[in-house]
């Protein structure tokens, strides 16, 4: 049977999380359809045709769908759900906001935050902030899954030749009105799929000191992250939070600066390949999971690291 992936996008391009989710779908079926709901998505939909594993693009282009209001999207999805064995969405705030509504309309239980697909009906998901891993099985007619993007590689974006079909827009009397979005603009890589992440915690002391991390991040072409403590203290915006109630990241290199390492933070970054911890508190739990620990005052260490990196660059050029 076919598998449906719900695309996360900004009406112009697909988010990387969609490409990760397609890889998860490819473990379930060869017949993958991509549903794109949005406004003025003609170009986006045509571009998506080349995504290798996709057989069919389903698009619903309507001005009311511009801002992804889940009360409007969910009935469109449940209306076409018949005929799919699985419906997948990324476990991003987009997918989390939307897919449970589809679960309500279809009366099936959703499985959240899948990190591994064992078979058509057996899935693996973290619970308790990743401190336990649960293997679950279901025999519902339709399986609704949100997929943790960092657990699956991006799919091939070229080589495919999907067909394109329109899907019926279903108008609902929706009370939610979109007002606006405050999005921080940055030239740095996206936190969710950066190769290197530099994260700051309460030890950064204020928002100005985060400039140190921005400098380091720019030197490494890294994304910037933060612990909940730093976000709560107002040093940096919520979109930077890594952890159980923030974003999940799994970069090749994660540099935790002035972060003590509460289990809720570790939940969001312990799948990173190499972890570096810089903290003046030698007892900080972050050192227990770090590959390289440096017990040092971060205000000395970070400028020194930047200096060392500059030296390395010079040696190489």
């Amino acid at each position: 049977m076919a598998v449906l992936v719900i695309a996360e996008h900004d009406n112009n391009i697909l988010k990387t999380s969609t490409l990760n989710t397609i890889t998860a779908a490819a473990k379930l079926s060869d017949d993958i359809h991509l549903l794109i709901l949005g406004k003025d998505i003609e170009t986006l939909s045509n571009n998506a045709k080349t995504i290798h594993p996709i057989k069919k693009i389903l698009k619903c282009d309507n001005s009311k769908l511009e801002n992804f209001i889940p009360e409007l999207s969910a009935p469109i999805i449940s209306n076409i759900a018949n005929g799919y064995s699985h419906i997948l969405a990324p476990a991003s705030t987009f997918g989390k906001n939307l897919l449970p509504r589809v679960s309500a309309l279809l009366d099936v239980t959703q499985i959240s935050d899948v990190i591994e697909i064992k078979s058509e009906n057996t899935f693996v998901r973290p619970i308790y902030a990743g401190n336990a891993i649960s293997h679950v099985e279901t025999n519902q007619n339709i399986n609704l899954l949100t997929i943790r993007p960092t657990s699956f590689e991006k799919c091939e974006e070229t080589g495919g030749g999907a067909s394109l079909e329109d899907v019926q827009f279903i108008d609902s009397d929706v009370k939610t009105i979109f007002i606006g979005r405050e999005v921080s603009k940055s030239d740095r890589p996206e936190l969710g799929n950066a190769r290197i992440v530099v994260s700051g915690g309460r030890g950064m002391e204020n928002s100005e000191n985060f400039n140190l991390l921005y400098d380091l991040a720019d030197k490494l072409n890294a994304a910037v992250g933060a612990s909940r403590a730093a976000v709560d203290a107002g040093y940096i915006g919520n979109e930077y939070q890594v952890g159980q109630t923030g974003k999940m990241v799994a970069p090749e290199l994660y540099i935790a600066v002035g972060i003590s390492g509460a289990i809720q933070h570790l939940a969001g970054m312990k799948e990173s390949k190499v972890i570096v911890a810089i903290n003046k508190d030698t007892e900080a739990p972050i050192f227990n999971i770090a590959d390289y620990g440096l017990s040092s005052d971060l205000f000395q260490a970070i400028p020194e690291i930047i200096k060392e990196l500059n030296l390395l660059n010079k040696l190489e050029s």
Binding site: A74, P100, A132, T138, G237, Y292, A301, E304
Partner: protein, 249 residues
């Protein structure tokens, strides 16, 4: 305006959990249990609305075994007026929780339902969204700011890209982020007072809904442990290790 707050009893966020030796789940016997942290934000918001004269009555509801009375008493000690325990021996899946809540809502007729955005035990992040769809009410999830004027809601939601602002109207279902407010501590006199506040207990079987699990937990295991790393002496050594040993820069 009447506000209903859904509250879950979970293993305290500071507890380092243990997987049961038979891999059937996580050990919850003899560990400290507390109100699910973002549910505390929901309680705080409801109590604030009452103090501001916007809410006229606040009701907390929990679904669980007898012991879930604890978290309802805590809710009332924080200022909730009364509470309801829907008793069930088994832990319910989000869809069943939402159906249970919707049955109680039919009777209670609240104008606003508040709850945490996720429970920190199973991290599903579903119940509020499902409930909103079952009721056909607007949903506002992961909120960090709420203003109510008459029937109108002005909301800030935390999304992956930053903050999203929406407007909506009552009745509505709202799920709270940890940054919505700072939950108060219950004072001793208020803890004493809470013991006298009404707490009704009803059995889930009396609601006539399907609460059978649709997901079977086959096995719960410990996550793979990271191997212990090393402490480096200085920045120079760190950068060298990253460059020549780990080869990540």
């Amino acid at each position: 305006m009447k506000v209903l707050v859904a509250v879950k009893r979970v293993v305290d966020y500071k507890v380092q959990i243990r997987v049961k030796s038979d891999n059937s789940g996580v050990e919850t016997q003899n560990v400290k249990m507390s109100v699910n942290p973002p549910d505390e934000n929901a309680i705080e918001e409801a109590v604030k609305l009452k103090e501001q004269g916007i809410a006229t009555e606040t009701v907390a509801i929990s679904i669980g075994d007898e012991k879930s009375q604890d978290v309802l008493r805590t809710s009332m000690a924080m200022g909730i007026d009364r509470s309801i325990l829907v008793k069930t021996p088994n832990s319910l899946e989000p869809l069943a929780v939402a159906k249970t809540l919707s049955k109680i809502i039919e009777k209670e007729n609240p104008d606003l339902v508040l709850m945490g955005k996720q429970a920190i035990d199973d991290d599903s992040n579903q119940t509020g969204q499902i409930l909103s769809a079952l009721l056909g009410w607007p949903q506002a999830c992961f909120i960090s700011d709420l203003k109510i004027e008459g029937n109108k809601l002005s909301i800030s939601r935390e999304i992956d890209e930053g903050i999203e602002k929406i407007e909506s109207s009552l009745p509505a279902v709202i799920t709270c982020d940890l940054r919505l407010n700072t939950p108060r501590f219950a004072s001793l006199p208020n803890i004493m007072k809470a013991k006298k506040k009404p707490l009704d207990i009803i059995d889930v079987s009396s609601l006539g809904i399907d609460t059978d699990p649709k997901i079977k937990i086959i096995r719960v295991e410990e996550p793979p442990k990271r191997k212990a790393g090393i402490m480096v002496n200085d920045v120079k050594e760190l950068v060298e290790k990253l460059k020549y040993e780990a080869k990540v820069i």
